[in-house]
């Protein structure tokens, strides 16, 4: 998966937004199908429908036409444009185009348009996401003269699911803060039943909320990938930022609560004290199954960091780790090295591992390796509820470790059965032989 659709998904966390990919229509169609399969929701995503001729001559008219069409049909509150490999190879001056279009088309004067450069052939999904949020901050946040002491900005990384965001929001609110989440997929892609049908996103961060971010007390960047956007906000509006790169595991969540308690001057609410105690108990109960287990993980950097550390803290051994793009979070990850590569690389290094964690495309590999498979990241298209997968906070950390331990227990039971029934054995061997043919490369 590449930068443009990372950017597009970030735009989908804004309310009333229509994301547009500036490229040929396939760029949009593929991204759209991918998100539909993952979220099982209507996905707003448009295209400038570039063709051979417009690519050579320049896509200004296509952008203009797209903006006019979208403004008229979808009536969005904001439009987000991401470039693609096609238009970046040509090298177009989109900022200049937008200026000219605005001069020519007064009817577009009131429509905010945010443009991000996201070539497919550079970086990865989370880079596109991070750049997009930084750009939204640059263009839409308004510096304020007064501070709103109970208002906190939360910049959410692409590794957080709508379910995660809901949890984080509740935690922050329990300290008496009013958080503004940017982007907020928990409003737009959490699978709710709306009253009416709109062609744009429904739910998500509102334009006036984004504008008001300049008056917040502080910004918490959730994930290393959000550091750039948080810095941009600090430079522009003087809102101090802090980085919370990990939200999985006892010690990381403790750190988050300590931060919130200090910021608010309030004690940690009773419910979370109880949840912490439950998590500690869960760690004790599950350590029998997790200690010493060799795992292989394929994930984008920030997700890899969260899951990798937490598993290591539970006694697992990170044997293989593959990611999509370089990041400083790899430096203290308890693994020999993180390879930037694809699932074929991961499969080669995962030999001998007892547990695989990656997105749904890992299913064929897991079948070949015959090891338990836990789905994380994007896309998850062969299981329901991807949007509600909760991995953060005390509760999410507890869920995760139960799920993983249960997978390992189930695998052990299967193995015992395999030893017990000789007639079953031949059957299982047949099934294995069938699975051995095949496939796959490229981690998205």
């Amino acid at each position: 998966m590449s930068q443009p659709i990372g950017g597009a998904l970030a735009f989908m966390g804004l309310h009333g937004c229509m994301p547009v990919l500036h490229g040929s229509q396939g760029c949009t169609a593929f991204g759209l199908v991918l998100f539909v399969r993952h979220f099982r929701e209507m996905i707003p995503l448009q295209t400038t429908a570039m063709n051979e001729v417009t690519t050579i001559l320049g896509g200004m008219e296509n952008i203009e036409q797209a903006l006019l069409n979208i403004a008229q049909r979808a009536k969005p509150q904001v439009v987000g444009i991401c470039s693609t490999g096609l238009t970046e190879t040509k090298g177009e001056d989109i900022v200049g185009y937008l200026k000219l279009i605005r001069q020519r088309r007064p009817e577009l004067a009131d429509l905010p348009v945010v443009y991000v450069s996201t070539p497919d052939f550079k970086g990865a999904f989370q880079d596109g996401w991070g750049k997009t949020i930084a750009q939204i901050v640059e263009e839409l946040v308004v510096p304020a003269t007064t501070r709103n002491e109970d208002q906190i900005n939360l910049l959410a990384g692409s590794h957080l699911t709508p379910g995660d965001l809901e949890e984080i929001r509740q935690i922050v609110e329990s300290f008496g803060f009013r958080p503004i989440l940017l982007p907020d997929l928990s409003g737009s892609l959490d699978g709710h039943i709306p009253e009416d049908f709109t062609p744009t996103t429904l739910g998500g961060t509102r334009l006036e909320e984004i504008r008001a971010m300049g008056s917040s007390r502080a910004t918490i960047a959730l994930g290393e990938q959000m550091r750039g956007a948080a810095l941009a906000l600090e430079m522009k509006c003087g809102v101090p930022h802090m980085l919370v790169d990990r939200l999985m595991g006892l010690r990381s969540v403790d750190r988050f609560f300590r931060l919130l308690a200090e910021l608010s001057g309030r004690p940690v609410p009773q419910i979370y004290r109880r949840q912490r105690s439950q998590l500690v108990d869960a760690m004790l109960d599950s350590h029998f199954f997790l200690g010493g287990v060799k795992v292989a993980i394929g994930a984008e950097p920030d997700l890899l960091q969260n899951v990798g550390h937490w598993l290591a803290e539970l006694g697992c051994k990170l044997e293989a780790a593959v990611s999509t793009t370089e990041s400083i979070v790899f430096s203290d990850l308890p693994v020999e090295r993180v390879r930037i590569g694809d699932l074929e690389d991961l499969e080669r290094e995962a030999l001998g591992c007892q547990l695989l964690l990656t997105h749904s495309h890992g299913r064929q590999m897991a079948a070949r390796l015959q090891i338990p498979f836990y789905r994380i990241g994007l896309p998850i298209f062969d299981r329901l509820g991807a949007a509600h997968q909760l991995l953060v906070g005390y509760r999410g950390s507890r869920n995760f470790l139960f799920d993983v331990a249960n997978l390992l227990i189930a695998a052990r039971e299967e193995e015992e059965e395999y030893h017990r029934l000789p007639e079953r054995r031949s059957h299982a061997e047949e099934a294995r032989a069938c699975q051995c043919q095949g496939e796959e490369r490229s981690a998205g």
Partner: protein, 461 residues
């Protein structure tokens, strides 16, 4: 690049297409796809179309020359089934980076071909051209030629950059690649008077397997199916078939017509959807084979089979007739299915309150009028919002469409059934039509609809 535009012109001129024959010389040159509307377009690109058409070939490596997005974002999203090799489900891409854009990606492509051959030893490699390398001028034909010479096996260039046009055009460009580089390059080990090709069947959800037993019973051998569950060798040697049946409307008509021109294989258009359509297809195919020299008894054998199978299917459908009579269907799909499914649903007493004709040809529309009457409610273009209203106001009981518009129905808390390419159930042949009706029944009578429509405890009244 010139070869791409030549190919595009060639498929635009396609004389086998009825729609094309009705146009003037000038109109034809402009092509058959509507100009894509920026900001209001939907659907895939030419690369998507080419991949859809060829990916079902199971035993070859499908290598996509382009940035990660083209293959990465679309990987494993089509439901073509295979009875044998699973190599086709593996995603291969050259994943070109910034430096390749500057220095050219040809060497990287050559290395990728070598790597794929070394590791997976496929009988052939298909190389797909995408926008970025097409724009910087990577000559994939030359690379494929060189690789073919060096490694001694077919390396087939598919000229399908996304910006060339729509999905439908991509289908045709894929057909051209087969015609230029694959078909007629090998000989079948033996031939029979009952050898046929099926063109335009992709074995989605295993639909070919619903039809194949019928062919088997008649002794008709499928020499090659283009391209569902196909092997490279089968397609390479399919020029020895005696007749061709073209399904899925016009998408790959260029293959059928050019094979008629080059190898004298006659073809006809048919459909496997719907009971009477399936019978017509078998009847026409048998007739064509007999005209091509097969023994005349095939005709009576076919009639017998048709009578037996139709009877069986009707018997099974009877159960549903009472339950489904009068239920109203909103049908949002394209092409052939807009009429072939209509007639089948009417046969069990359902009422079609609307059918979309966006992708249908004039001929398709005539067929719809024939089965639905002059006042047939044909929908040229309907926004999702209008569909939503129609369902919300209960002017239809169920919607049948492609996966992308499912949420229109589901969010209105109305039943929906997938009848496009991502579906998990097979609906071809006699058996398939019974399966479709059974699925509609299952969807309509699920008690969950009453449950989800319950008012929340905090709502008034």
């Amino acid at each position: 690049m010139s070869s791409v535009s030549e190919k595009v012109q060639a498929v635009f001129q396609e004389p086998g297409c009825a729609k094309n024959r009705a146009k003037s010389e000038k109109e034809r040159k402009k092509g058959c796809t509507k100009q894509l509307q920026p900001g209001a377009a939907a659907g895939g690109c030419a690369f998507d179309g080419a991949k859809i058409a060829l990916q079902p070939i199971t035993d070859v490596v499908h290598l996509v020359h382009g940035p990660i997005a083209c293959e990465g974002n679309s990987w494993d999203n089509r439901g073509s089934k295979s009875s044998d090799s699973h190599l086709y489900r593996m995603g291969f891409t050259t994943d070109i980076r910034e430096m390749d854009v500057v220095y050219g990606g040809e060497k990287r492509l050559f290395r990728a071909i070598k790597e794929a051959i070394d590791r997976y030893d496929p009988p052939a490699i298909f190389v797909y051209q995408t926008c970025v390398p097409a724009l910087i001028g990577d000559d994939i034909e030359a690379v494929c030629q060189a690789a073919k010479k060096q490694f001694g096996r077919p390396v087939v260039p598919v000229q399908s950059p996304g910006f060339a046009g729509s999905k439908n055009l991509g289908n045709k460009l894929a057909g051209e690649a087969l015609l230029d580089h694959v078909i007629g390059t090998e000989e079948p080990s033996y031939t029979t008077p009952y050898d046929v090709n099926i063109i335009g069947e992709y074995n989605l959800a295993g639909e070919l397997w619903q039809v194949q037993p019928l062919f088997d019973q008649l002794g008709i051998r499928i020499l090659a199916c283009i391209s569902g569950n196909a092997k490279y060798r089968e397609i390479a040697s399919c020029h020895r078939a005696k007749a061709t049946i073209l399904v899925c409307s016009k998408a790959m008509i260029n293959i059928a017509r050019k094979m008629e021109e080059r190898y004298g294989i006659p073809f006809f258009e048919g459909s496997f959807y719907g009971i009477s359509d399936m019978s017509d297809a078998l009847r026409n195919l048998a007739g064509l084979l007999v005209r091509q020299g097969a023994p005349g008894e095939l005709l009576s054998k076919t009639e017998l089979l048709i009578r037996r199978e139709e009877q069986k299917a009707w018997e099974k459908l009877k159960v549903y007739q009472k339950r489904l009579a009068g239920k109203r269907v909103l049908l949002i799909t394209g092409g052939v299915k807009s009429w072939s499914v209509v007639s089948a649903l009417q046969e069990v007493g359902m009422e079609i309150v609307g059918t979309s004709v966006k992708k249908s040809t004039e001929e398709d529309k005539e067929r719809i009028k024939k089965v639905m009457g002059e006042e047939a409610h044909m929908i040229e273009e309907m926004t999702p919002r209008e569909m939503y209203r129609m369902l919300k106001e209960a002017r239809a009981d169920i919607m049948l469409s492609g996966g992308r518009s499912q949420f229109v129905a589901l969010k209105a808390k109305m039943p929906w059934l997938d009848i496009n390419q991502e579906r998990h159930h097979a609906y071809a042949g006699y058996e398939g039509m019974v399966a479709l009706v059974a699925e509609i029944d299952r969807a309509l009578y699920n008690p969950v609809w009453q449950e989800v429509r319950l008012p929340a405890p905090w709502t008034e009244g």
